[in-house]
């Protein structure tokens, strides 16, 4: 029984990670719906709860961001799917360190439980946002939920850092040492390249977050002052005894925080390439370029963190430097997008549900990515920083693109999990409603942000300024968000009913070339590239990677 729970089988662990993400996304979505409802009807009491107080709203914002970024977007595309298919895709039987893998998963579960428990302590969950800037997050008296709730948040994320560290060690060792004979670097599926870059980023940056969390926890409980400046007064009490710097937290956090968002989106980029090749039945002509772009984005992503800090009090010269690196990172991203668009330009697309979601990923990536250069210019960011324009940007490029890549992966690898196919019609309806509702939710936020509406506002009308002019847009956003959430019920229904009664899938239902679709007991030796579509071989019009070398060579 213990073996069943604490299994070291990577496929089961991958499925478990996906279940964890599913739970987290359900909670996170519920929180966001409560946020949206409160924003447009602030004085309407919620059933069982009453009217949301301002600090309740901020707690919702904080926990929504934390859950979604850590437990959905860092977990599902990387740990979830990689555990499911990475070993198969490189021709390995198992991960390099299966027990480490299992330990990482259970640490992630512990982190999730600790985080959720923050709702149930006195004064509730923390309210300083997922970025928890000190001194607000360093002083318990600064707001409701900043006491026990903040401590639990810190412990939870600290444990999550340890989990990510172990998980990335395992993944890197696996990719480096467990490839089967013939699986050279240029024969790896693009998903493996993406997981490689993501693992390196994870390894490097989560330790920095852990260090920052240790320092913040120390400020809160051990009397140090890493982040709290001298003479800081909160609620009439002087709490700053030593001379700390709040900007130090911003640097440490964003050094982690920016690569984190690439960690969230890179696996989706690798999956998009694979799916586009699969469903256009074409090889990827710029394979080396695409892989190099993934590596370049990962590397450059370590040098751009200051673009979250243009108006934070950082040296303006540093602002220029970060602006230049950020504008530079648009280059590999654009090359990648052009590569995809080119790959799609040969016509004859097989528009199955996984392909549709991959196309949706591309659409959101373009939409959100295009607003990146605007925010990278400090002169413009000094208007747009912390407005809803930024919210629109990252929800489109990270959240929606990331979530659509997760959906693509689920629809695509469902036959591997269950031996059945998910219902195509339901899948297509799910896709279209989600696409339209997602744009309906996040596109108008560009306009409300341009109108100057700041983030984290629990209501639109204040004592002096009122954003009531944008109330119609806000209502539209709320209705779209409700529709978007409702569409996911379709997905859940499809998932559950297809698992039981779905159409049985043949082996390799998508006629893919990558090794996770190989039949049982194939000779573990690879002679072909990962995307040999449109190359006739015998009766088939493509060469799967597990096919032995042709005798005519």
């Amino acid at each position: 029984m213990m073996k069943r729970i604490f299994t070291t089988s990577h496929r089961v662990i991958g499925a478990h990670y996906l279940q964890l993400s599913l739970t987290a996304v359900a909670v996170g979505t519920l929180l966001s719906l409560l946020m949206r409802i409160h924003r447009v009807w602030p004085d309407t009491p919620l059933p069982f709860y009453g009217i949301l107080k301002p600090e309740d709203y901020l707690a919702l914002v904080t926990m929504h961001g934390t859950l979604m970024i850590f437990f959905v977007l860092t977990t599902a595309p990387q740990s979830g799917f990689a555990n499911l298919v990475l070993p198969a895709q490189i021709g390995a039987r198992q991960m390099a360190f299966p027990r480490l893998n299992a330990a990482a998963f259970w640490l992630a579960v512990a982190a999730f439980v600790i985080l959720i428990s923050a709702f149930f302590v006195p004064q509730g969950a923390p309210i300083s946002g997922w970025t928890s800037y000190p001194p607000f997050s360093a002083i318990a008296a600064a707001g409701p939920g900043q006491g026990a709730g903040m401590d639990l948040w810190l412990v939870s994320i600290g444990v999550f850092c340890l989990s990510s560290w172990l998980s990335s060690v395992n993944m890197l060792a696996t990719i480096l040492t467990e490839r089967c004979p013939g699986m050279t670097w240029t024969r790896l599926p693009m998903t493996v390249w993406a997981w490689l870059v993501t693992s390196i980023l994870t390894l490097l940056v989560f330790s920095v977050l852990l260090a920052a969390i240790v320092l913040l926890y120390s400020d809160r409980h051990f009397g140090s002052s890493f982040f709290v400046p001298l003479g800081d007064i909160v609620n009439g009490h002087i709490v700053g005894r030593g001379d700390g710097s709040p900007l130090l937290w911003l640097h440490l956090f964003w050094f982690f925080g920016h690569p984190e968002v690439y960690i969230a989106v890179l696996p989706g980029m690798g999956l998009a390439t694979s799916l586009f090749a699969n469903f256009t039945r074409r090889n990827v002509p710029g394979y080396r370029t695409m892989a190099a772009m993934l590596v370049l984005i990962g590397l450059l992503g370590l040098a751009v963190w200051g673009h979250h800090m243009f108006v934070s009090g950082m040296n303006p010269y540093a602002g220029t430097a970060f602006a230049l690196t950020t504008m530079a990172i648009a280059v590999p991203s654009t090359v990648e997008v052009l590569g995809w668009l080119t790959l799609l330009s040969y016509g004859g697309l097989r528009l199955k549900t996984p392909m549709l979601f991959a196309l949706g990923f591309l659409s959101f990536f373009i939409a959100g990515g295009l607003t990146g250069p605007i925010l990278a210019q400090p002169a413009l960011d000094s208007y747009l920083h912390n407005t809803f324009f930024v919210v629109a940007h990252f929800h489109l490029v990270m959240a929606m693109a990331g979530v659509f890549s997760i959906f693509a992966g689920v629809y695509y690898w469902f036959p591997l999990l269950t031996g059945r196919l998910m219902n195509e019609t339901l899948g297509k309806v799910h896709f279209w409603i989600s696409l339209i509702a997602a744009y309906g939710t996040f596109f108008p936020m560009h306009l409300t942000g341009l109108a100057g509406e700041p983030r984290h506002y629990e209501r639109l009308s204040g004592p002096i300024a009122s954003f009531s002019a944008i109330l119609p847009a806000e209502r539209g956003i709320t209705y779209s968000a409700l529709l978007l959430a409702a569409a996911q019920l379709l997905f859940l229904w499809n998932f559950i009913s297809s698992a039981r009664r779905g159409q049985r899938a043949e082996s390799n239902p998508w006629q893919a070339t990558t090794l996770e679709w190989a039949p049982e007991g194939f000779a573990v030796r690879v002679e072909h590239g990962p995307y040999d579509y449109s190359v006739p071989s015998g009766e088939a019009k493509f060469i799967p990677q597990w096919e032995a070398a042709s005798k005519q060579e």
Binding site: S207, L210, G223
Partner: protein, 253 residues
């Protein structure tokens, strides 16, 4: 290439392709059998006697890389904090950093830690002597274990001595008035740096004890090699980290 290198014309092995005609030439000057020399081109599990060890070493290296980033973050904070200051009434930039004098016992501790690295390395090397491995394989007892165990115990003792020495240094600082929660940032960093390093050493000592137990309980010599080897590399790395951190505290305040 050195001038003494000469290419021997070796008997080049030709592979049969199965379709007749001339097989491709294998032009490697050192001969070798087909693709077997390429480590990566062998299936997992058949890549040689050190395959498992290499994999575990790689894992340890990656884990330590992550750990390095943790210390890099602390050290960056350290440097940033040192450069903090304020402008006084005459617009002069006055540094707010008051360097903390490092208690002299830290020098002794450093020497002890370096010594413990030596004993750890001695222990590690005992596991890799070919003769001992052969003797064990032939069933003639476990000489490697008997030779390595005392060195491991010595490392544990020295490591514990180091930790005791650090604790004494902390005591001395508290007596001199520099506690962790003093307002002075240099004390924060001193305790933080020595404290986190000390915590890593505690984990290292637990690892060494685990390696010791593993030496006696594990059946396969391969696994014993891995356990001692990886623990020893972790220990060395903590020693190297300490040298950097110590140099930082002594020279860069």
């Amino acid at each position: 290439m050195p001038a003494t290198f000469t290419r021997h014309p070796v008997e080049i092995e030709r592979k049969d392709t199965g379709i007749g005609g001339k097989p491709p030439l294998d032009r490697r000057p050192t001969g070798g059998g087909g693709d077997g020399d390429n480590w990566d081109n062998r299936p997992s599990g058949r890549r040689g006697p050190r395959e498992l060890l290499s994999r575990y070493r790689l894992g340890v290296i990656f884990a330590l890389a992550g750990d390095l980033m943790f210390f890099v973050a602390l050290v960056s904070a350290f440097f940033v904090r040192q450069s903090a200051g304020h402008f006084d009434a005459r617009e002069n930039y006055v540094s707010d950093w008051h360097p903390l004098a490092v208690p002299p016992i830290l020098w002794i501790n450093t020497a002890i830690l370096l010594l413990s690295s030596i004993t750890a390395e001695m222990a590690r090397r005992q596991l890799f002597r070919e003769i001992d491995v052969m003797e064990e394989w032939l069933g003639l007892g476990r000489p490697a274990v008997k030779r390595a165990a005392p060195w491991l115990i010595a490392t544990v003792v020295l490591g514990s001595l180091f930790l005791v020495g650090q604790w004494i240094a902390w005591d001395q600082l508290v007596v001199a008035g520099f506690r962790f929660d003093s307002p002075d940032p240099s004390s924060h960093f001193f305790y933080l740096i020595t404290g986190t390093h000390g915590l890593h050493l505690v984990l290292g000592i637990l690892g060494l004890v685990g390696a010791l137990i593993g030496l006696f309980t594990l059946r396969r010599i391969e696994l014993r090699q891995i356990v001692v080897d990886c623990t020893a590399w972790y220990w060395h790395t903590m020693g190297v980290f300490w040298i950097f951190l110590f140099a930082l505290l002594v020279l860069f305040q």
